[in-house]
């Protein structure tokens, strides 16, 4: 049941894609750390088993996203993926930091969220490619496997850094964190943090109940 004080931010498909990918990503990070860090490798052991969990999870990692864009349920997911791609002045402006931003109305996602999404998406594909070479390439490809290992190891550090940043931001922004669970976010958040998206919602939905009484626009972020 959707409250009048809230708007829909993530639909069910997006949340399912997010959380299934998140669970697999955590599995990959934990098993990857066991395979990679000597202290953990020696403490946990069972390398064959850990390797198989890591490889099978890795092969499935892009599954939810691909399923999410494969059917008629994809509409909002595709729309949001395009938002990650398209940057306007307010997205670049976001990187100037909270005190120096010029107050341009922002999209549904800010520049930091967009770069995070694009990076993690690309890193998942890169880790999959290099991982497949490491595990399945014929043994005569050893030169490529060495290169793949180098990239895979580097991506491990980069992905861990990105995920830690992502989780830290999420924990410090309760409204946005909750919206990834129940899909909804307060209208006040949308107005003040994502003014461009808010305007879009008003235009496309013609929501009279709230938008009618709201002032035209201009509630830009502080």
């Amino acid at each position: 049941m959707s409250s009048l004080a809230e708007v829909s931010r993530f639909d069910l498909v997006e949340r399912l894609v997010h959380w299934s990918t998140a669970i697999m990503m955590m599995t990959l990070i934990v098993t990857g750390a066991i395979l990679y860090l000597p202290s953990l490798a020696l403490r946990v052991g069972h390398r064959g088993l850990v390797e198989n969990i890591h490889v099978i999870t890795g092969l499935c990692l892009l599954g939810p996203l691909l399923l999410g864009v494969a059917g008629p349920w994809r509409k909002q997911l595709i729309k949001d993926l395009r938002r990650f791609d398209r940057w306007g002045a307010s997205d670049f402006d976001w990187f100037r930091g909270p005190t120096r931003r010029s107050g341009l109305e922002r999209d549904k996602f800010n520049g930091g969220q967009k770069i995070e999404a694009a990076f993690l998406g690309a890193a998942m594909v890169g880790a999959l490619l290099t991982g497949v070479i490491m595990r399945f390439a014929p043994s005569s490809w050893i030169t490529w496997a060495t290169g793949a290992t180098l990239v895979h190891d580097a991506l491990f550090f980069a992905i861990v850094a990105a995920v830690v940043t992502h989780v830290a931001f999420a924990l410090s922004k309760p409204d946005q964190l909750v919206s990834m669970f129940n899909g909804r976010i307060p209208r006040s958040w949308a107005k003040s943090h994502a003014g461009a998206w808010w305007s879009e919602l008003e235009v496309s939905k013609g929501d009279v109940s709230e938008a009618g009484s709201a002032e035209p626009r201009g509630g830009s972020s502080p």
Partner: protein, 243 residues
């Protein structure tokens, strides 16, 4: 596809046309990945010393370093005191052996300086190895004429390996009790491990405690997990004597 985020509408981004930063980021990361796969071996070699120095300082392995990764397939790994260690050589031999560490150290010693190359790609260059040639151990036991293969067993109770008898007679396969300039430590498979210089690391079985001479190559632990039995680095055997 119809899309309400019209690029030309100035509504959301007044006065500017949106830039495809997401696409650029993805292409950039994937480009770097491709370059890394293609020339990563060169980068790995160039990074080796610096990466190892930093890695040793912070205690975390880094991409491109020249450090060993530690593999163990059981929940814990055997820590065998040097004075109780025994290597059994049995099967199709004239004289089954039980060699203690002192016995191995009284035999003809061989030293090799050669890389340790893992099949997944990581590599440690110029490792110092010392021990007894596998073929010298086999000669001491006296392999019978119908034997064609070896099964190698580990004290961890799970790790097994195999070699053909022809492979076992190469001059670059050691029953090693020293590596990296010291006794082989327990985490590296000590007190005694195998070192098969021309093959990928998984053939160099750790915690070696039994060599059974037989007439059939039985795939070992990693071979049962899909890795090749004839694990020549680069896919084919190097010329004998030139490891």
């Amino acid at each position: 596809m119809a899309d309400e985020l019209d690029e030309t509408s100035g509504g959301r981004y007044p006065g500017t046309k949106p830039v495809h930063m997401g696409r650029r980021t993805v292409l950039g990361i994937l480009g770097l990945t491709g370059i890394g796969i293609a020339v990563g071996t060169k980068i790995d070699n160039a990074l080796g010393n610096v990466s190892s120095a930093v890695s040793n300082a912070i205690g975390v392995p880094l991409p491109g370093d020249d450090e060993f990764r530690y593999y163990t397939i059981t929940g814990s790994y055997p820590v065998i005191p040097a004075d109780t260690y025994e290597l059994t050589v049995d099967g199709m031999v004239r004289e089954p052996l039980r060699l203690r560490l002192a016995d191995l150290r009284s035999m003809k010693r061989t030293k090799l300086v050669h890389q340790f190359q893992c099949v997944t790609g990581w590599i440690v260059p110029d490792v110092h190895w010392e021990g007894v040639l596998l073929r010298d151990v086999l000669d001491r036991a006296g392999v019978t004429s119908r034997a064609t293969a070896l099964r190698l067993f580990s004290a961890d109770g799970a790790y097994t390996e195999s070699l053909s008898l022809t492979q076992a007679h190469r001059p670059d396969i050691l029953v090693a009790d020293k590596m990296l300039g010291a006794n082989v430590t327990a985490d590296h498979g000590g007190p005694v491990r195998l070192y098969v210089a021309p093959m990928y690391g998984y053939k160099s079985i750790k915690w070696l405690n039994r060599i059974e001479v037989s007439n059939e190559v039985v795939p070992g632990y990693w071979e049962d997990n899909g890795y090749p039995v004839d694990a020549w680095i680069g896919g084919s055997a190097p010329v004998a004597g030139r490891p």
